[in-house]
């Protein structure tokens, strides 16, 4: 019996091709069972995320299994002819190694991301529940999860945030701990503010206030985020109660001055205040950062921190690959 993998991902196929082969999470088990029934292979697992669709099969002969699988996909999507160059084909140890890299986040668009681990686990569980796996794939997947965990615990491949929004959210958590007791104000209803505020809300931020020169736009964004709109002339009064301020207006000059924050300090009882300035030109006067309880981060600092994390992760790749190779050598997996 031989292990094979046929798949496409964000590196080999554009989204218009990937979306044609995508399988919804509720259909992963059914898809794996159908694959076995129509191609006559012994075992199968289908992994499908926004960045990849991969088919892991166990068959007596690899080339024959690839042909059958491609034929099955051509019938299902009527696309395989033109999509063929986007697919990669892997056999035996190469396929097992690829699975370990996927599970470890080494093959992800955002290097080291953790979500893929859960997605692969979900896909395997669906195939297992559908009765589409047996000895070989059970062992290969379980070992791959073990290797993935080892890679993540023994290296810093998942450490640090690699996007400006996530760096800002991590910093907010470093200052306030759990964000469920934190209130957020957005100055300027731009896209970057929206994305960053959404990340804060997803991590539990309690309430959002949106202030924008166009009140209609502020109301629109506030409704979308489940928050409240504040007239642009009134944002100083809200400063007394919020913990985090995200600013991204299109103003050509600073709109938050030291005096504005000084006025609110007494009412705030000198609690910590976190300013995230993602506007260019900057919205917040750098002198605001000199106030004792204020932590001010501008777009350049956040981008630099994200870049440092990306670079740290890049440096870890070699070590991750070494762990995967060493583990695979030790495991002597069936089908490889």
């Amino acid at each position: 019996m031989e292990l094979i993998c046929l798949g496409l991902n964000h590196k080999t196929a554009p989204v218009e091709v990937r979306e044609r082969f995508a399988v919804g999470a509720p259909k992963l088990g059914e898809s794996a069972r159908e694959l076995i029934a129509t191609t006559g292979v012994a075992e199968g697992v289908v992994i499908s995320t926004c960045n990849r669709t991969e088919f892991y099969l166990v068959a007596p002969e690899a080339q024959d299994a690839f042909n059958r699988l491609e034929h099955h996909l051509a019938e299902k999507t009527a696309l395989l002819g033109s999509a063929a160059p986007h697919f990669y084909r892997m056999e035996k140890s190469q396929a097992a190694r690829h699975l370990c890299r996927v599970v470890s986040g080494l093959d992800s668009m955002m290097l080291g991301e953790t979500e893929i681990f859960g997605q692969v686990k979900q896909a395997y569980q669906a195939a297992l529940d559908a009765g589409a796996t047996s000895n070989v794939l059970n062992r290969v997947f379980q070992r791959a999860f073990g290797v993935g965990k080892k890679v993540r615990t023994e290296t810093s491949i998942q450490e640090g945030s690699t996007s400006v929004g996530n760096v800002a959210v991590d910093l907010a958590e470093k200052i306030f701990g759990h964000l469920k007791h934190s209130e957020v104000m957005i100055l300027g209803a731009g896209e970057m503010s929206r994305i960053t505020a959404q990340s804060l809300v997803s991590r539990g931020a309690r309430s959002i206030f949106v202030s924008n020169r166009s009140f209609d736009r502020a109301e629109e964004l506030a409704t979308e985020m489940g928050g409240s709109a504040v007239r642009f002339d009134d944002w100083q009064s809200v400063l007394e109660r919020v913990d985090i301020v995200i600013s991204s207006t299109g103003s050509p000059h600073a709109i938050v001055h030291r005096a504005d924050v000084e006025k609110a300090r007494r009412a705030r009882k000198y609690r910590p205040l976190f300013f995230i300035d993602i506007a260019v030109p900057r919205d917040i006067d750098p002198a605001v950062g000199e106030i004792e309880e204020v932590y001010l981060y501008d777009i350049d600092t956040l981008e630099q921190l994200a870049e440092e994390a990306r670079s740290r992760r890049q440096k870890q790749i070699e070590e991750c690959e070494r762990i995967i190779d060493a583990e695979l050598e030790k495991l002597n997996l069936p089908g490889t």
């Binding site: 306030f176 007494r266 000198y270 004792e292 309880e293 932590y295």
Partner: protein, 255 residues
């Protein structure tokens, strides 16, 4: 035997602190520090029990015993407060303070070789001594939390966010909440100690000590009142917690 117990407690604290620092330097949180510090506490309890038996009273009769009792109190509050607020890194910062106090306690002349029974013991006197030293344990830990805040605040202000220490320090708000609770706890215990101090029989020679105790109590009371009514920045609260603890230790070393 008692001396060996204190030496063991000191060595365990050295090891726990060093282990924690190496872990933090590598970017990991040292979960073992809590275990080491628990072992420190066991040795401290054994030491104080032996001395208490010999004294037939609370073992606070010489400077060595006071420092050992203070270290015990500091370790106890760390174990009570640390895990509850998920700030086990507090152990890495607490261990060196315990080592310093206990090392001083072990210096020649600090601990009596043959402790004698305390004659004419008075319950108010013992309450005064025990609660005051317990209070100092809580206030010492507040000072430790203050130092942790100052380190984190500086790193956040200067955007130096790469160190293992930064990654392992608890959030600013949690540190400040812990610091304030410890100040309230220390302040409460100190109040009991002061009241007991007035109720115990004392002669004129104790006047200086009582005035110093009152001054320290007033200092902490003002700090807590200002924090509650007006508010204080984290940096000022931390600096004051550290400064007042060091100052009050200095006062009692000479009064």
């Amino acid at each position: 035997m008692d001396r060996w117990l204190l030496i063991s407690a000191t060595l365990l604290a050295v090891f726990g602190g060093a282990w924690g620092m190496v872990s933090v330097h590598r970017g990991n949180r040292s979960r073992w520090t809590v275990v080491w510090m628990s072992a420190v506490l066991v040795c401290q309890i054994a030491f104080l029990s032996l001395r208490g038996e010999q004294r037939a009273a609370c073992p606070l009769a010489d400077r060595g015993e006071i420092l050992a009792f203070l270290s015990w109190s500091l370790t106890l509050f760390y174990l009570l407060v640390g895990p509850a607020y998920r700030i086990s890194l507090l152990g890495v910062f607490t261990a060196p303070v315990v080592v310093v106090f206990q090392s001083i306690a072990l210096l020649p002349g600090m601990l009596e070789w043959n402790p004698q029974e305390v004659a004419g013991g008075n319950p108010w006197h013992e309450t005064h001594s025990a609660t005051s030293v317990l209070a100092y344990g809580a206030l010492a830990l507040a000072a430790v939390a203050g130092v942790m805040f100052l380190v984190l605040d500086r790193q956040l202000k200067e955007h130096h966010l790469k160190s293992g220490l930064f990654r392992n320090l608890p959030p600013v708000r949690e540190l400040l909440v812990s610091l304030e609770r410890l100040l309230w706890l220390g302040g409460g215990l100190l109040t009991v100690g002061i009241v007991a101090g007035f109720l115990m029989p004392h002669d004129r020679s104790a006047l200086g000590h009582l005035i110093a105790a009152l001054a320290v109590w007033t200092g902490y009371a003002v700090l807590l009142a200002v924090k509650s009514v007006r508010g204080l920045t984290g940096r000022r609260l931390s600096l004051l917690a550290v400064g007042m603890f060091v100052l009050s230790l200095g006062v009692f070393a000479f009064v």
